[in-house]
Symmetry: C2
Subunit: 395 residues, 2 copies
C-alpha cells in the first residue's frame, strides 16, 4: 500500500528503448534500512545512499542500469545529482532519496540524461504490478529474467504486504550486501528492527548465492517500510519481528534463487545443501565452497557426476569437519543418485546420474553426520556463454 | 649428477601408449624435503610420502597419472604398494620411496598394473635429458606442454646442478604445496635447510599461480639433494643457503609460469605485478586476487581492456590499501597502455589496448604508491575450452 514504481529509457543503456532508469516512491515517509557491498572499491551511489539513510528514513529510490558510476572522478556529485533530479520531480527532499547504479565500471555517467528523463519517470509511476514490472526491467543489465516477488502476511492482526525487485547476473558473489535489491513493505517497522531483519535475512539468502566469485563494487539492498498496513509498529525483538523477518526471508530467498538461475550464461540452477555440520557457519562455508568451484560448475554443465570435485571443494574450504563421515547425493526432478559415502565413492549407475544431472535444477546434498548445522547455497553452471558474455562486456 | 629418471605406459591413462608411470632415482641416499596441499581432503600418496620422508632422507620418487588415488577406500595400501613395487625393482627400502598420483578422484587404483610395470620402469631409467623427458611426460594429464628445467650454479666453489619437472593444468590454485613438482639436485644440503629453502620459494612461485581457484587434493612438491656435487654441505642459514634458494627459486618460477601458461583451455599467460604496496603480504593477496577473477580472466580472453574488473578484484581482496592512489597499466610485446590512475579511469586508445591485449603474454601492472611491498602472480585467461575440458573430464 502506498508505493508506486516505474521505469523509462533515458539513454544510458546501449540498446535503444531498453528501460534503464527506475524509480520507487512511497506516498508517506518510510523507515529505511540498507546493506552494502564489502568490496573496498565502492561505487559512488553507495556513499550517497548511506548518507541519505543515516537518519533511518527515506521515501524514494532512483536507480539506473548501463553505467556503474564507480571509479569515476565526479561520481559522488553525479549520484547526488540523481537524487536531486528525483526529488525535484517528486517534490520531496533529496536527502529522502536512495540511489543505485549498475553497469560498466569506470566510465563517467552523463547526469544530464537522468535529469532530462526525471519528469517522464515521474509520469511513468504506477501502483502495483505494472510499476514494479517496469522498475524491475529498468535495473536489468545482462539479466535474461526479471526478478520480483510480492507476498502478504499478517502482523498484529493486520494484513501486510512485502515486495521486492532485484537484478543480478554476473559479478555475483555477495558478501554482506548484494547486487541490487529493492524491497518495500507497508508494515510498520522501526528503522533499527528493519536493519536487524535485513541483516539476518541477507546472511541466509543473498550472501549464499554465487555466480562467479566476483563481489561487485555496486552491491546494495534497500528496504523501505511505510507503515500504511496499520499494524502496531514493530520496534523491538519478539514474535512480531520474527514474523516480519520470516516474510522478508521468503522474498529474499526467492530473489536469491532467481539470481543464481539467471547467472550469466547459466543453463542450470545448482542448490547445495549441507546438513549434519558441527555448526551453521561450517555448513555455510562448505555449501558456498561447492557452489563456487569452477571445476564443479563446469562438470554440472556437462552433466558429469564428478563427485570428487565436491569433496575437493569441501576440503579446501576454511572449515573444520571430518571428511571420512561425509556423504554426497545428486538429486533433481529425474530422481537421485548417491555417489559418495563415508568419504569414499560408492558404485552408481552412470546412466541414472546422467538423467539426474540432465535437468535444469540440480540439488547437491552433502551429509556430514557430525552435528545439527545446516545451510543452503545457490549457484549455476559454468558455460561457454559465461565466457562469451564476459569476453566482450564493454562493447 | 647421480640421478636417473624414466617413464612407461602401465595402463592407468585412458589413451593407449600415453606414458603414465614415472620414476626418479638417485644412486645414493638424498636429503629430502616436501610440501603438500592444504586441502583437508588429502590423496593417499601424500600420507605415505610424509611418513617415508619423516627421517629427511629418500632415494626415489614414483608417480602415476590417470588416477588420483584420492577418496578411495584402500588408497593408503595402494600407495604403499606402489612404493614397494619401486623399491623391489630398485633393490632399496620402500621407506626411501616417495609416491605421487594425479588424475580422477574417487576411483580405485589397480595396483597390479603398477606392480607389473615396475621392471620395465626400472629398465627405462636414463640419465640426463632423455629420462627427465620421459618422466615429465608420464605425469601429464590435461597438460598440453611438458614442464621441466635444469640449471647449474656454484656453491662452495663446486658446480651444482638442479632440475625439476612438474605437471599442472587444471585444479590449480595451490596453497602451500602445489600440483606435482619433483626437483633433484646434486648439491649437498641438509634436510632442514632443504625444507626451509623449499618453503621460502613456494611462497613466491607455486603459491602465486592460479588457473581456476580450485586447490587439488594431490598437490605435492618434493626435492631430493644427493650431494654428489661435492660442495661443503649447506646445513645452516647464510650465504650458501641463499645461493641455493636462489637456484631453487629460478627453477620453481619457471615451472610455475609454465603451469599458468598451460592452464586448462588457456590462450594467454597473465602476469600481475603489484608494486608500492604497504607490505609483501598485501602485494601477494592483491596480485593473486586479480589473477583469480573469472570476470577479469574472461575479459582477457576477449582482449577487452575492462580495467574496472582489476579494481573490483583488488577491492574485494582481503587486504588494506588506499584505492584512490592506485594505477593500472596493461603491457605486452605490442606495447603498453595506462588505463587507470589515482583510482579512476584515464582516456586511452581502445585500438592500442586491443593490440596490447591481443598478445599471448599480458602483464597487468598495478602501482599502489603506498610502500615498498611487491609481488607477482601468474594465471591464464578463462576460455570456452576450459569449460569444454571440465564439462566432461571423467569420460
Amino acid at each position: 500500500l502506498g508505493f508506486s514504481a516505474g521505469g523509462v529509457h533515458c539513454g544510458l543503456a546501449k540498446q535503444p528503448d531498453k528501460k534503464d532508469l527506475a524509480l520507487i516512491v512511497s506516498e508517506v515517509p518510510c523507515a529505511a534500512a540498507a546493506i552494502y557491498t564489502r568490496n573496498k572499491v565502492k561505487a559512488s551511489p553507495l556513499a550517497v545512499t548511506k548518507a541519505h539513510l543515516a537518519d533511518g528514513t527515506a521515501r524514494a529510490v532512483i536507480c539506473n542500469s548501463g553505467n556503474a558510476n564507480a571509479c569515476s572522478a565526479d561520481g559522488e556529485a553525479v549520484a547526488r545529482g540523481m537524487c536531486r533530479a528525483a526529488a525535484q520531480a517528486l517534490g520531496i527532499s533529496p536527502r529522502d532519496v536512495a540511489v543505485g547504479s549498475t553497469g560498466v565500471i569506470g566510465q563517467p555517467l552523463p547526469l544530464e540524461k537522468v535529469a532530462a528523463a526525471a519528469p517522464a519517470l515521474k509520469a511513468a509511476l504506477e501502483d502495483g504490478w505494472g510499476g514494479s514490472d517496469a522498475a524491475a526491467r529498468a535495473i536489468m543489465t545482462t539479466d535474461l529474467s526479471k526478478k520480483e516477488l510480492a507476498i502478504s502476511f499478517v502482523l498484529g492482526g493486520k494484513t501486510c504486504r512485502l515486495g521486492g525487485i532485484a537484478k543480478g547476473s554476473g559479478m555475483i558473489h555477495p558478501n554482506m550486501g548484494t547486487m541490487l535489491a529493492f524491497l518495500t513493505t507497508d508494515a510498520a517497522v522501526s528503522a533499527p528492527m528493519l536493519q536487524k531483519a535485513l541483516r539476518d535475512v541477507t546472511e541466509d539468502t543473498f550472501n549464499m548465492v554465487s555466480v562467479d566469485g566476483d563481489t561487485s563494487t555496486n552491491d546494495m539492498c534497500v528496504v523501505l517500510a511505510n507503515g500504511l498496513a496499520g499494524n502496531p509498529i514493530v520496534d523491538a525483538e519478539g514474535p512480531a519481528l520474527e514474523d516480519f523477518t520470516g516474510a522478508l526471508r521468503a522474498v529474499c530467498t526467492h530473489l536469491a534463487r532467481e539470481m543464481a538461475r539467471d547467472g550469466e550464461g547459466a543453463t542450470k540452477l545448482l542448490t547445495c545443501t549441507v546438513e549434519g555440520a558441527p555448526d551453521t557457519r561450517t555448513a555455510r562455508v562448505l555449501s558456498k565452497s561447492v557452489i563456487c568451484s569452477n571445476l564443479f560448475k563446469a562438470a554440472m554443465f556437462g552433466a558429469d557426476a564428478n563427485w570428487g570435485r565436491v569433496l575437493c571443494a569441501l576440503g579446501y574450504a576454511d572449515a573444520d569437519f571430518d571428511i571420512s563421515r561425509t556423504g554426497v547425493c545428486f538429486a533433481s526432478a529425474a530422481g537421485s543418485v548417491e555417489v559418495c559415502k563415508d568419504g569414499a565413492g560408492v558404485p552408481f549407475s552412470e546412466e541414472q546420474a546422467k538423467r539426474v544431472l540432465g535437468e535444469k535444477e540440480i540439488d547437491i546434498r552433502v551429509s556430514l553426520c557430525q552435528g545439527g548445522g545446516s545451510a543452503t547455497a545457490w549457484g549455476c553452471d559454468l558455460t561457454y556463454d559465461y565466457v562469451k558474455i564476459n569476453g566482450d562486456y564493454r562493447s
